[in-house]
């Protein structure tokens, strides 16, 4: 039909003697034109042939350059809309670049997302074959690898079930199992690890390591710092289309933390409850030198602070600072009445600042501080309490637990 017209796909560059980078991105920019009207019509074009359509320009990727070495597990990080997916699509050849040059050595997998082209009305059997063909296998190869796919996905008994009856976890398993069948030397993966149950995720990670041991290059786009630090050899951070930083995953994760949680409410004190009574005027975190901080390294001790303005006379009130994760799990409750210590007497009109200092054993994440003041006793009779008044971002190493306590270990032969 149209097979007579053939265009050479790419003019091969001169072979480089030493190992060329798997992916080489040089000064790549990509701008999208966003027209003001959603769609133009032929009618408009005919009636107003000279009117130029108005549009905004979005500089999704701005002159980015970097190389990815053969066999590297490379992460691309950034917030939503930072241009990381656009960059990946440029590397994959789904979007053409405006300026610059992208070169790859080795076979590139043609997909960037799992389960692309899955049809919910077909069985897993059909979908696996179709998907494999889309990924570049021939029909025969696709059929030959079918058993391996189903075995890996652990879906043996469901192969003739239509995909619409699959759970989302099963779908991901099937998609992942199909995707790794591709004989590509460079894999591009956009946000995949957030799904599936824990056991399968672990299996996926193992599979990634296997691919890596085989010398495959993996480019991985994510905003999950945990998988970034765990898997990547190197990473880059994008912000609003610009390359912010490139280097060790640990440093990138830290920089990402900063741009993600950089502006924290501690700079603009949240006013306490608008009542005439005792109120918490301000809450913040500070380091041991007394400077207010929005983020803290695990190595340094941390202070949780808040200021209380009394509107009544109170004897031995209970001051407390509760630290919770963003999910609302309580990690620490620091109380002034521990070991029956008396806090003292306070007069109406007085203002005091309460500071709790603690070693920072927290795992990297964001934590919310809830300061409170309660009447003498159990601490249940609160006179002032502000939920999640301020927050802090902790960076450092993560073992996967919620606390990174100093440990000692001994191994003795018995």
């Amino acid at each position: 039909m149209t097979t007579t017209i053939n265009r050479p796909a790419a003019s091969p560059q001169a072979a480089q003697p030493t190992a060329a980078p798997a992916v080489s991105v040089q000064d790549v920019s990509k701008t999208f034109r966003l027209p003001h009207q959603q769609y133009s019509t032929l009618k408009e074009r005919v009636l107003h042939p000279l009117r130029s359509t108005e549009y905004d320009e979005l500089n999704a990727v701005q002159s980015i350059s970097f190389d990815i070495a053969q066999g590297e597990f490379f992460g691309i990080m950034g917030r939503n809309g930072s241009g990381k997916s656009t960059l990946l699509k440029c590397i994959a050849g789904i979007y053409g670049v405006d300026t610059g040059r992208i070169a790859i050595s080795g076979r590139l997998s043609p997909f960037i997302e799992l389960g692309v082209g899955f049809n919910m009305d077909l069985t897993a059997r059909d979908n696996v074959v179709i998907n494999a063909i889309m990924l570049g296998l021939s029909r025969r190869e696709a059929r030959a690898r079918f058993d391996a796919v189903i075995e890996f996905a652990e879906l043996g008994e469901f192969i003739d079930l239509k995909l619409k009856n699959y759970s989302s976890g099963m779908l991901v398993r099937l998609a992942f199992a199909t995707a790794i069948q591709v004989d590509a030397e460079i894999l591009l993966i956009d946000e995949v690890l957030a799904v599936g149950d824990a056991a399968f995720q672990q299996k996926c990670f193992e599979e990634f390591f296997r691919l890596k041991r085989e010398g495959k290059t993996i480019v991985f786009v994510s905003h999950d710092m945990y998988s970034l630090e765990r898997f990547c050899d190197r990473a880059l951070l994008m912000e609003r289309g610009v390359l912010r930083q490139i280097g060790e995953p640990h440093d990138i994760a830290r920089a990402y933390h900063k741009i993600n949680f950089g502006t924290l409410p501690h700079e603009a004190p949240v006013s306490g409850p608008l009542e005439a009574g005792t109120a918490i005027a301000d809450a913040w975190f500070e380091d041991t030198s007394g400077a207010r901080v929005a983020e803290a390294s695990q190595e340094d001790a941390l202070r949780m602070c808040f200021e209380v303005r009394f509107a009544e006379d109170l004897d031995d009130p209970v001051f407390a600072a509760t630290l919770r994760t963003e999910l609302g799990h309580t990690i620490i409750v620091a109380r002034s009445d521990e070991r029956n210590a008396a806090s003292g007497s306070f007069k109406s009109g007085e203002s005091v600042t309460v500071r709790f200092e603690l070693p920072n054993w927290l795992t990297p994440s964001r934590y919310m501080l809830t300061p409170s003041v309660a009447r003498e006793g159990t601490g249940a009779d609160a006179v002032a309490l502000v939920e999640d008044m301020t927050s802090i971002v902790v960076y450092g190493n993560s073992s996967g637990g919620i606390l990174e306590m100093p440990l000692q270990m001994k191994i003795e032969r018995s």
């Binding site: 265009r7 133009s40 019509t41 789904i94």
Partner: protein, 295 residues
């Protein structure tokens, strides 16, 4: 899966440049297997999608045929049923309807094809031409099945085998080429101009009546001057349908060549078909690199 493929030492892979998406790129084997897979999947879905499945794709042209047949032979009498060219009018009518159904399916299906397959275009690197090609191929599957019905109907009506049946590949080649050209053009234009869809619905409706589907060319010839007839026969569909009727059904109806005066005059509609194909490809090829980001 279990075999570890270690990189072969000493063999440094050749670095090559990544180009953006295009209409045709990479190897043709992948182009074909993707086109075939997409068409086959779609066909399968239609086949198994409902209880009657394939019957539905057959019912539409047959119903249209039934209505037109009753109306134009029993009530309206547009054609002179006693004229020699009206021999096997039913087979002529059904054959033309089946061919037109193919053209309509291929082109109308192509209009929204790129937009409907946004999830593929935005996520996978593959030659963009695969999508309109698979739509045309799907229509070809249906055409093949419908032609079997036409064949059975022709034999049952008493049409006798003729040497000119060997012209069938040429006739089908012509309509496939034309449909593919229009399909590429519409698929690319719709991405930028969303009113192509209603416009094309009207245009294809006009083409149905502007081609010898219901009325034979003979009837047209009796009513209009030779220059108007010439204009009428510039429509490639008119040439294709008329030649189908002549070569496949009965020599009692004139061939497209004799209607135009000479076989050489057939070069004009042929040039139009090739022209549409070339323009269609050029437009598609030019827009292919930016289709994904404009969906």
């Amino acid at each position: 899966m279990s075999t570890a493929r270690l990189p072969i030492p000493g063999r440094a892979p050749v670095s090559h440049r990544v180009h953006g998406p295009s209409a045709l790129s990479g190897d043709l084997r992948r182009f074909w297997s993707l086109t075939f897979t997409l068409a086959r999947t779609e066909f399968k879905l239609r086949f198994y999608g409902s209880v009657l499945g394939y019957l539905w794709t057959l019912v539409r042209p047959l119903l249209l045929f039934g209505v037109l047949w009753v109306f134009f032979t029993k009530i309206g009498k547009v054609n002179d049923q006693s004229a020699p060219s009206a021999k096997f009018y039913g087979v002529q009518l059904l054959g033309s309807i089946v061919l037109f159904t193919f053209f309509a399916e291929a082109t109308t299906g192509a209009v929204k094809s790129m937009v409907d397959r946004e999830h593929l275009l935005r996520k996978i690197h593959f030659p963009r031409l695969v999508i309109p090609s698979s739509i045309v191929l799907l229509a070809m599957f249906n055409l093949a099945l419908n032609l079997i019905v036409v064949f059975i109907f022709a034999i049952a009506s008493g049409v006798e085998p003729m040497w000119s049946w060997f012209e069938l590949p040429l006739i089908l080649g012509g309509i496939v080429l034309l449909s593919a050209g229009v399909a590429m053009l519409l698929a690319a234009l719709f991405v930028w101009f969303r009113d192509i869809s209603p416009i094309w619905e009207v245009v294809s409706q006009i083409l149905f009546y502007a081609s010898p589907v219901i009325i034979s060319v003979q009837t047209v010839k009796e009513k209009v001057s030779s220059s108007v007839l010439h204009l009428y026969m510039l429509n490639p569909l008119a040439v294709i349908f008329q030649q189908f009727r002549h070569a496949m059904v009965t020599h009692a109806t004139p061939s497209a060549g004799s209607l135009l005066g000479s076989w050489a005059a057939l070069l004009e509609p042929l040039a139009i078909v090739v022209g549409i194909f070339v323009v269609g490809f050029a437009v598609f090829d030019r827009s292919a690199s930016r289709i994904a980001e404009n969906l």
